[in-house]
Subunit: 341 residues, 2 copies
């Protein structure tokens, strides 16, 4: 019998950021497929769509008009999942039924007035303007007393539940720290206490030695397929310098961040010859008024496509009830992305 | 300002089984929708499909022929994500990169020789035969030295990644306990140690007092929308008697289990007038040779549809990066399901 080989044998990998394990089945990419093919609508959008509630000058569901904006535009989500004016209170029945009011603010950020673009199509300078907005929003929302975490993200493509193709992202800012960043806080804090260094800074050193999972590198950032990636072409953008949140990014880093986002999303679009759907977002330090020296800013990209523009990875039965699972290795995915440069 | 109200105000609910919180946004079901509608293929399947690799007598991808089975049929998955003969071993680089070989067995269970049925269409007596198979497989796989957890599940419908419409389920049995049942072990064990009773037995008492989340009840089982449900019409089937796994079910309970599965899936099919897609599966005690008095057998149903046969809930940006989130309350969902009886 051969020795254990990561490129060949089913195995579990540890996610150092969440403390959880995932299942990897490298041998499995050959299984037959008679199932769902995604319907990726042909992208022939006009620059301006009179029926789009995000285009400049148009009316939104609540009757307000968008300004004739020319770069970015931010507004409070008319159907936000969180609301600022929730009466505080909780519900308890025994120790098993527990609920608590949650306060928050949901915003929408239009990346561009152009209905037909995506971040990939925008100039680095234009994306830099979006980074400026992210910085401003994190600052403004995070400064509010009742906001302790600011989640900035983008759902791109109908397959990722995006309800409108106009290039836009969202912010959900709230009183409690959600489950995923809470797990990352626990892991980063334990590491920081044990070593006095940032978990992701040390992780980056390992990845730069190994090289095989790195996709792109700029002066200030590295984009790589994390060792513990779950989604087929999942990546993470990590700044080389250790800082906890977007407020600490200087102008050069913001430019660099915009540039690596554009470069990465360009590779994604090349992969299957389609505007690549994904959910992406930043994880950064809570805005709870505490110091968070353990936190290392980063951005996750979770794209669902597995083998083509129309066949995605399904996180279903086993993944929902058991464990996240993937069919190709992180190393193979990184190599495919790199080969498109 | 009003008092905090679970039916109106955004809030977090605690999942007593996993120890994690979810976000509930009761006010949000009215948001407009220009996004993806699922393509639910019209179900006009023949009783026998010569090209289906699960139909009796047909040839599978590996060249083997299915027997001319007349009730159920179980075989090792030709493209299993887990394999029994993996060389043991691990990979370590620093403390951040960790992987370990994982041994396991993946099986496929055909519920019926009929290509055109689902569990809903089968007689209780036929579903009881499937329960018999689940019992036998849990016993046989669980008895293997290297199998410490047996995950039995079904992905139903193309939208849930099912690669073949022939009625079938799967078993992934493996050496380690996956993330989700591991969380449930922690929670159930803590409760059992503190109270000397099963968490789900006590939970059921609360639900039977409150009544509003209960959907169906038989002599031996209750089907309800759990207080902490994430998926819009998520349900859980809990036996009234406390036992840890399917081996402890007697004949009457097995019949009852078959009956409640049929009744529940019939309500689902009525909800949006479509063969209702879901992933479903049992959680039960690990087969690690230890006593597990804390474990209380149950079955989860995770259906994705939200508002119609074609609009599903997307677990995307915020949900992947932050926290699971839902737009209707568990109480409202239970009432809708009950009203279809
Ligand atoms: O084994 P199948 O039916 O081919 O595959 C389906 O179920 C598996 C277990 O939940 C998933 O990993 C796959 O992504 C899904 O397509
Ligand atoms: O806010 P949107 O774009 O309407 O909605 C989309 O993103 C949200 C946040 O990830 C999800 O809760 C919704 O299910 C999804 O459709």
């Amino acid at each position: 019998m051969n020795a254990f080989d990561l490129t060949e044998h089913p195995h579990r990998r540890f996610n150092a950021l969440t403390g959880e394990w995932i299942l990897v089945s490298p041998h499995r990419s050959k299984r037959p497929w008679q199932g769902q093919q995604e319907d990726i609508p042909k992208e022939e959008r006009p620059q301006y769509d009179p029926k789009c509630y995000l285009c400049p000058g148009n009316v939104r569901a609540n009757g307000e008009y968008n300004p004739p904006y020319t770069q970015t535009f931010v507004f409070d989500n008319d159907f936000g999942a969180l609301q600022a004016n929730v009466p505080l209170g909780d519900f308890r029945k025994g120790e098993l039924l527990k609920a608590e009011a949650e306060r928050g603010i949901c915003r929408v950020i239009c990346f561009s007035p152009r209905h037909d673009l995506t971040l990939t199509d925008m100039e680095v300078g234009e994306i830099k303007k979006v980074v400026d907005v992210w910085q401003r929003e994190y600052q403004e929302l995070g400064a509010l007393d009742f906001i302790n975490y600011v989640q900035i993200f983008e759902n791109k493509g109908t397959v990722m539940g995006s309800s409108n193709p106009h290039p836009h992202g969202q912010i959900w800012a709230q009183s409690t720290v959600p489950v995923e960043p809470a797990k990352e806080t626990v892991q980063q804090l334990a590491y920081y206490k044990a070593h006095g260094r940032s978990l992701l800074a040390d992780y980056l050193v390992l990845e730069q030695e190994e090289k095989q999972r790195i996709v792109l590198e700029t002066d200030a950032f590295v984009a790589l397929v994390p060792f513990w990636a779950v989604w087929p072409f999942e990546t993470i953008i990590i700044p080389k310098r250790h800082f906890g949140n977007i407020l600490e990014m200087n102008e050069a880093e913001k430019n660099d961040f915009a540039a690596i986002i554009k470069a990465l999303s360009t590779l994604y679009d090349k992969l299957f010859g389609v505007s690549f759907p994904y959910s992406a977002g930043m994880h950064q330090s809570p805005t709870d008024g505490q110091e968070h020296p353990e936190w290392h800013f980063h951005m996750h990209f979770y794209p669902p496509l597995l083998r083509s523009a129309t066949v995605k990875k399904f996180m279903v039965g086993y993944e929902m009830l058991g464990n996240p699972q993937r069919d190709i290795t992180a190393e193979w995915a990184a190599e495919r992305l790199r080969s498109l440069k």
